[in-house]
Symmetry: C2
Subunit: 351 residues, 2 copies
């Protein structure tokens, strides 16, 4: 594919991630949203049509049912893949593994999400860590929200030569806001029974050199995850050095409690005030005035919007797989510009 | 005071801690609850009378107001102190510091709670760590719930020769259950703006040799605190060694997720089923099947009932100050027996 020709991107699954990916793809001038495929007949695909997206049924049967419910459906997934250069699979956990056979049979490039195993594609993607090894591959897996945040932050410390090992405690939002009427937890905390939790090994799928161990607990809120980290540095460092290391990544926003961003909800409100779609927080929002260095130890906390953080990575992954841009920095800068990434530190930022 | 004569204990402040201390004192055969003092005229002191406790007003004015509201009040705080050997101050944070002058003028021994500064008494108390240095002192301070849990667990590791340094993340309940209609937080997380949080230095008030750093965050639930710890051991150890170290403390209950204790609420329900007053969890409830040793590193999580954990310590502190028992182990065993401590590991325990 030449740089002049737009990459035609299919989105399979129009849920929490799919709808955000579709919206982000539509903002890229080097991509074209070929269409979105789903199985639902409720309000969700109707919004896709409202936005002018071409809608497809996941199978012939789904296409028929969707048409019977009054939805304007172009065709089924096979039809969508026929007019696409790449498909981003945003179907629920474990379903993508089944779709992969279809993608491979058709010889179409594909991206799966972090709910799938690394082995499904043999490559795990975070733009700042593994863009170059994804170049022109058949497929990759954009890792989960928590893993993305871990790789972004630890890669930043690694690039500055500061990372020895990292130990994290992850407070996981109980369920997504749009699904919180379907179940969740109230007035309790539910530890994940396994220590270490899976996010550490998952980060090592992207960068096997990371010395990282995590513990996780489910908390009764829906807004975002919150991480607490104790990091052993390679040497004693100053707070400024550490902040500089994080600031070198555009995907890490340094925010301040004394700018009024004292809790998850206030950060989300700022995203809404910025007019971002779905109030998306694409960045790791790391509190610079909370961060503490004690000798060769570093302590900090950050917020992870589990619905949004992987969106810029997915856009970059499209460029890497199709070889549209060979340089990670170039793609990251382009994605950032289209999604408004970079404003946050300016508004409520480092100092 | 001879061992034959019961220690007469006054409780000043009949709130979350005071009512539990009064109930626990009433269960001791070497103590006598001289009475409880408060300022309230609502339902709370009425329950104290219902239990047969002698009620006093904090000042003459309060005594009068309480009498006018129909409460049967014996006298004021000065009268109560006159018939007591020791007073446990359970008034709200910072108020005890003012009462201390009264106690000192009267020459009565006193205990303050963890909301006060270490300097108020010059001694900070956790039975397993500082009983002997409290013997026959004028006063001590029973440290806060979180600090108590930290000193108990790290002391257990220290006694086994395993502790090098400990780094913890504390999930703090937003408010107490009985006060949750007065304010709290909903559907968000509120990091404490200062890293490290105050609990690490506070633990060092009890044992200056502890190398401990903590971070804390407020979570939207009311049941208990939850701690996650990454501990560097003095050497690689087996899981059994570590569990043995914790099991050596009766105030640490080893519980299991696979016994159904998979979250804070299920542990509290077990306390209710055991018939404990106020469903009190006096122990640090540490999940033995979640605990993990990796080389010389140890990871674990435990639950802290902020309303109950200091109650057995307060009983032990009474014995230490009055010199009733010179041996910490003897006092701890007696307190444990009266409060039912020890059952938990048997019921849902180590393996």
């Amino acid at each position: 594919m030449s740089q002049a020709k737009k990459c035609r991107v299919a989105v399979n699954g129009y849920g929490v991630i799919g709808k955000r990916v579709a919206e982000a793809v539509a903002r890229q001038d080097d991509m074209e949203l070929a269409g979105v495929a789903d199985i639902s007949t409720d309000w969700r695909p109707r919004v896709a049509l409202q936005k002018g997206f071409r809608l497809f049924g996941a199978t012939g049967e789904h296409t028929q049912a969707m048409r019977e419910s009054g939805l304007e459906v172009v065709g089924n997934l096979e039809d969508l893949l026929g007019v696409s250069d790449l498909v981003v699979d945003c179907t629920p956990k474990r379903i993508a593994a089944l779709n992969v056979d279809i993608y491979r049979q058709r010889g179409i490039k594909f991206i799966v999400q972090g709910g799938e195993k690394h082995e499904v594609t043999g490559h795990s993607f975070v733009a700042e860590a593994s863009y170059s090894s994804a170049l022109n591959r058949e497929s990759t897996r954009v890792v989960s929200c928590n893993t993305t945040s871990i790789v972004r932050t630890l890669t930043a410390l690694k690039h500055a030569g500061l990372l020895r090992r990292a130990r994290g405690t992850l407070l996981r939002r109980a369920t997504d806001p749009w699904e919180s009427h379907l179940g969740g937890i109230m007035n309790t905390l539910v530890p994940e029974p396994e220590i270490p939790s899976h996010q550490g090994p998952d980060a090592q799928c992207v960068d096997p050199a990371l010395d990282v161990i995590t513990m996780a607990v489910k908390v009764p809120e829906t807004l975002a995850h919150l991480h607490y980290w104790s990091v052993q540095l390679t040497r004693p460092a100053s707070t400024e050095e550490v902040l500089d290391a994080f600031a070198a990544s555009s995907r890490i926003a340094l925010i301040r409690t004394d700018a009024g961003l004292s809790a998850l909800n206030t950060v989300k409100e700022l995203m809404a005030d910025l007019g971002r779609p779905h109030d998306n927080l694409y960045e790791v929002a790391l509190w610079s005035d909370m961060l503490k260095v004690e000798g060769d130890e570093l302590f900090y906390a950050y917020m992870v919007d589990n619905q949004a953080i992987v969106i810029p990575e997915t856009i970059d992954a499209v460029r890497a797989l199709t070889g549209t841009m060979s340089n990670a920095k170039e793609s990251i800068a382009k994605t950032d510009a289209t999604l408004g990434i970079g404003l946050l530190t300016q508004i409520a930022g480092r100092r």
